[in-house]
Symmetry: C2
Subunit: 252 residues, 2 copies
């Protein structure tokens, strides 16, 4: 049986899944509150831009569309952002900060490799659903972030994520929780693609075909994918071991 900590305190899956950043916190703290803060408008624009970028891609989205979405004229956008690309930077920087916070929470997590793997899968899936727009952008327009030097910090975050996953998988193999013949390199990518594409599917619940309108809840879908990942990595003799239900009950 895979070992996990008590379930309370600062080292549980729950804490990782709840990891959030708090943008604009400093500004609010140092100034008296206003009825309409300027940051709101900016965030409103970013939200609209993120949605369009996620749905049509960055290149295919126009500033006219973004402006229309926030009921403003195109020219007025340039009071808030210098270029369209600056909007993309603002959007993905938020996400990169969130990823960093998640990584730190995961690395501080007590428990064995399997517990940490489950925690990372759940955190990743939930983040994808909670922040679908930016995750879809990073996922679908990944060529853009790979190619352009201005977005090197995105790749850096992905590398950190890779290293963390590598440590988890290697630890698991050493502890004989995971298969001895596990190809860690291929498996890290496979799990990442599995979770990302599943999160994307879950959000745009369309799938291949139109029939079968069943309601797959978030918890059920997360449990399914945790089960998938464990089947891929677990040592054969542990394949049928149940998963601690407490690990999955993190809907908050």
């Amino acid at each position: 049986m895979s070992a996990a900590p008590g379930g309370k305190g600062p080292g549980t899956i729950r804490d990782v899944a709840r990891t959030r950043t708090d943008p604009g916190r400093a500004a609010v703290a140092t100034r008296p509150p206003r009825l309409i803060r300027p940051a709101d408008r900016r965030q409103q624009i970013l939200a609209a831009a993120a949605r369009l970028f996620a749905e049509h891609g960055f290149e295919a989205s126009s500033v006219r569309e973004i402006a229309a979405a926030v009921k403003i004229l195109p020219g007025s956008l340039y009071h808030h952002f210098a270029t369209k690309e600056d909007m993309l930077h603002a959007i993905v920087r938020d996400a990169v900060q969130r990823f960093t916070a998640q990584h730190e929470a995961l690395e501080a997590l007590a428990g064995d490799a399997e517990y940490r793997l489950v925690a990372s899968v759940i955190a990743r899936f939930r983040d994808f659903v909670d922040n679908w727009e930016v995750n879809a952008i990073l996922w679908k327009d990944s060529a853009l972030f790979r190619t352009r030097e201005e977005f090197a910090y995105v790749q850096a975050a992905k590398t950190r994520s890779f290293k963390m996953q590598e440590k988890i998988l290697v630890d698991g193999v050493r502890a004989r929780l995971f298969r001895a013949d596990l190809d860690v390199y291929l498996m890290i990518g496979t799990i990442a693609r599995l979770i990302n594409s599943a999160g994307d599917w879950f959000r745009s619940n369309v799938f291949f075909h139109s029939d079968r309108p069943d309601a797959y809840t978030l918890d059920r879908t997360v449990a399914f994918h945790v089960d998938c990942v464990l089947r891929l990595v677990r040592a054969p003799e542990r394949i049928a071991e149940p998963i601690d239900p407490a690990w999955l009950a993190i809907t908050g």
Copy 2:
């Protein structure tokens, strides 16, 4: 042990993986051959368009770029195609025909559910790599094909693919080759996303991080993913069963 047919004749994985369509065959057969057939120029344009659509998306690709790629002037493209969208239709119709041929070959395949599942995974992965451009388009611009009615035939092909996969998985569960608790609906999508995203990764061998420049051959990568899929679906007591190496030796 999972049962498969002899290995020769018209019912092997090899035949499915080799499924191809032969566009322009009829035209060539009924006319005397020329030094430069008009179909060549058309195919040349389609190839360039497919590449650009795959790399930047349909919307973000311009007819000027396509024209430049085939060293022609933008206006001349409209002698071959009425609209940019017509080019996309020509590209995806080819792929849909190929999918249909693959489905028929798979449905005509002798052997049990596991053998057919392995065949479908291999065929799909290899098709994704062999015809990367159109598969990437269908994969990355999937929202376009889902939304627009003119592309309903693409969705129809995906539905046929879903039904076929459903039959394979249900057959496998009935035959007790696969897990009794298998969620067929979720698993079909999971396998499809796993293979598609893996094919995309394999082609643009970049991954998350820049280190580790190992050479993963096509055969090795296919074997890895076949193994993954079988781990996801197999009954627990069959999890460690070896895969017939002959099933994988289809590089032809």
